[in-house]
């Protein structure tokens, strides 16, 4: 347990440092008072407006922000798991963005065109989206195995292929919603009510069943990696592929399976976005949740539950970001906090060195006292 906490320390320090640095940045541009207000706004918008609740007794003041945070956290969890799972076998899945777009467009089409009873319809849409994302991730895995093409390059290329084909062709071309009357509509047709993910808090918030799926996915991935034989094999490959091969593990097969899983998770992120909140494939997917997945995976230390924790935290901050707008800070500000935290996590060795020096000094002092 102590070991686990120690591994968490660099991430926690990185996030804390990033928060402080970003606070200083706002103070310098907008003044200290405004920075305080803006950050307070972000926190209340992220984890519930408790002061307002205590003042007015309005539960919505707490539930609405929390619901929004959970909605964002669900997407971040899925893309974070996508990157983290690939990491476990030593692959870097930069392509979560593209796989998510494929999942989203598949879910949008299946949700609008197929007619089924509610539960079945949702299940079918999720399944197809996961399959779409997985298939889109299969290419890089095969290219890596058979042609030695680095997955970073191939997934970057496939991201842009997906953007071009989905958003610049399908959504504005063959799959564009038919205009009704005078108002032109952007994006694809609305999904049928039977394909919508049920809302968890009724009318209070957009929080939907996708959040529960994300929780399940994170816990399931953790159990799989820590308790199942195949999960053990994946981890062995990630630590040392040559040793794993020598130990009789079919490395190629595991790489393909891990990449398929990664693609499926990213595809599910797209499906949850479409079936949960957008209810169609919009003109553009908006925030690059696929790239955020890289941040979630790394800040979460590559551990499924770590991914979940960082997704909950940053999902919250990003929900709170809209409140910063009131103080002249762009609503994408939490993304700066997140990016800086990722950069600081990348500098892991710096932290290790710092912490080692700190602990050494401490133990040295203790020794001197004794």
């Amino acid at each position: 347990m102590r070991e686990g906490l120690k591994r968490l320390l660099p991430s926690a320090l990185a996030v804390a440092t990033s928060l402080v640095a970003c606070f200083v940045a706002v103070s310098l541009t907008r003044g200290f008072g405004t920075a305080l207000d803006a950050f307070a706004g972000m926190v209340w918008g992220a984890f519930g407006d408790w002061p307002r609740y205590l003042e007015t007794g309005n539960v919505g003041a707490v539930l609405r922000p929390l619901g929004e945070a959970g909605t964002k956290a669900a997407l971040l969890t899925f893309t974070g798991l996508s990157v983290a799972v690939a990491f476990r076998v030593g692959l870097f899945n930069i392509g979560a963005q593209g796989q998510m777009m494929v999942g989203a467009i598949v879910a949008a089409v299946a949700g609008a065109q197929v007619e089924l009873p509610a539960a079945l319809h949702v299940a079918l849409c999720l399944l197809l989206a996961a399959a779409g994302g997985a298939l889109y991730a299969l290419g890089p895995a095969l290219l890596k195995l058979h042609r030695g093409v680095h997955e970073v390059i191939s997934t970057i290329m496939l991201n842009w292929v997906a953007v071009s084909l989905v958003e610049n062709w399908l959504v504005v071309g063959p799959l564009r919603a038919s205009a009704s009357g005078d108002n032109s509509i952007s994006g694809t047709d609305q999904v049928l009510p039977s394909a919508e993910l049920p809302r968890l808090l009724g009318e209070t918030s957009r929080l939907n069943a996708g959040f529960l799926f994300a929780l399940l996915a994170a816990v399931g991935t953790w159990l799989f990696l820590s308790r199942f034989r195949r999960g053990y094999e994946w981890r062995a490959i990630g630590l040392n592929p040559e040793a794993a091969r020598a130990g009789g593990i079919d490395v190629g097969r595991c790489l393909v399976q891990a990449m398929l899983t990664a693609g499926a998770f990213a595809g599910l992120a797209g499906a949850v976005l479409v079936l949960g909140t957008e209810l169609k494939y919009p003109a553009t997917l908006g925030a690059p949740y696929g790239f955020d997945g890289i941040a979630m995976a790394l800040i979460g230390g590559g551990h499924p539950l770590g991914v979940l924790a960082s997704a909950l935290f940053f999902g919250g901050l990003r929900a709170g970001g809209t409140r910063m707008q009131l103080f002249g800070v762009h609503k994408s500000f939490p993304e700066l906090i997140q990016g800086l935290a990722l950069l600081l996590v990348a500098a892991r060795l710096v932290w290790d060195r710092l912490l080692a020096r700190l602990f050494k000094r401490k133990s040295g002092e203790e020794a001197a006292r004794a």
Partner: protein
């Protein structure tokens, strides 16, 4: 027909420089063995800084400031990857995310506008095009000669292939890599500056909208050589100009081949080239591996 060709050529000359600079820059870093997927972020830093600096000083000085900003981001990347042996892909992607958010934040904080900076005086035109266009015609040749024909270039390439061997020769691996990545950042910054001072006359919030990744594609397509990368970048820019030209002059053709498919072509072609060349790929052997002097 001739008219169409000259107008095409003219728009390629206008559109190619940002891509050419960035692609040539990416080549420098990767030939030294440091993966650079942070080109997008470096370009954004250059574009923003150049546009802001040009508000208070002559535009050419602003371009230099943009280069310096790109180099500064490159320095961060180099420091993390070379000094601290961080994961190069993570560092690059993190820089992209930071620059994306930082640009938006500063735009709102300094100019109270989520969309763009105030307009500046564009770079003057020489022979109908910006000076950067002509620089983009010469620079790849100069860099190519420097990388392929000079002692420095030989060391640079060797550091990307087998750093341990170069270290034995008494060359400082880390210093060489550091220099290459900073230069790479400066060129990406120049590419960004070209966007905001020559292509347009201001910094817009979405810049460089993926051009950095297209530059990486051009570098791969050009098989990791400066001239190849510049050629690929020009080819991609030509494809883009052709697409835009067709959209206005022959829209019926685009109903047969949709724009989105054309947009996807550079990336799809790069993938095909990679798949075909496979293990014989031109990528430097030590690309992405941090140099550890204790390993021999």
């Amino acid at each position: 027909m001739l008219e169409l060709l000259t107008s095409l050529l003219s728009s390629v000359l206008d559109a190619a420089p940002p891509l050419v600079f960035a692609a040539v820059g990416a080549t420098l870093s990767e030939r030294a063995g440091v993966v650079n997927v942070g080109v997008e972020g470096m370009m954004r830093a250059g574009a923003f800084t150049a546009a802001v600096a040009a508000l208070v000083m002559p535009t050419p000085a602003g371009v230099l400031a943009g280069m310096a900003a790109g180099a500064a981001v490159g320095l961060v990347h180099a420091w993390l990857c070379v000094r601290w042996r961080s994961d190069q892909v993570v560092s690059g992607m993190a820089l992209n995310l930071v620059m994306l958010a930082l640009g938006t934040f500063l735009l709102e904080a300094v100019f109270d506008s989520p969309n763009s900076t105030p307009p500046i005086t564009q770079l003057p035109k020489w022979l109908g095009h910006s000076p950067l266009t002509w620089l983009a015609c010469m620079l790849p040749v100069v860099v190519h000669l420097a990388v392929m024909r000079t002692a420095w270039g030989l060391r640079l390439r060797a550091v990307g292939e087998k750093p341990q061997a170069v270290a034995v020769m008494g060359v400082r691996v880390s210093r060489l890599r550091l220099g290459a990545v900073v230069l790479s950042g400066a060129l990406a910054g120049l590419g960004g500056a070209a966007l905001s001072t020559a292509t347009l006359d201001r910094f817009e919030h979405h810049m460089p909208s993926g051009l950095g990744f297209m530059a990486v594609a051009a570098m791969v397509f050009g098989r990791w050589t400066p001239l190849g990368a510049a050629g690929a970048a020009t080819f991609f820019a030509f494809g883009n100009a052709l697409r835009i030209g067709l959209a206005s002059s022959a829209p019926e053709l685009l109903t047969v081949v949709p724009q989105g498919v054309l947009l996807a072509l550079p990336y799809a072609l790069t993938l095909v080239v990679l798949a075909v060349s496979g293990k014989k790929s031109a990528a430097p052997a030590a690309l992405g591996t941090p140099y550890d002097p204790e390993l021999r």
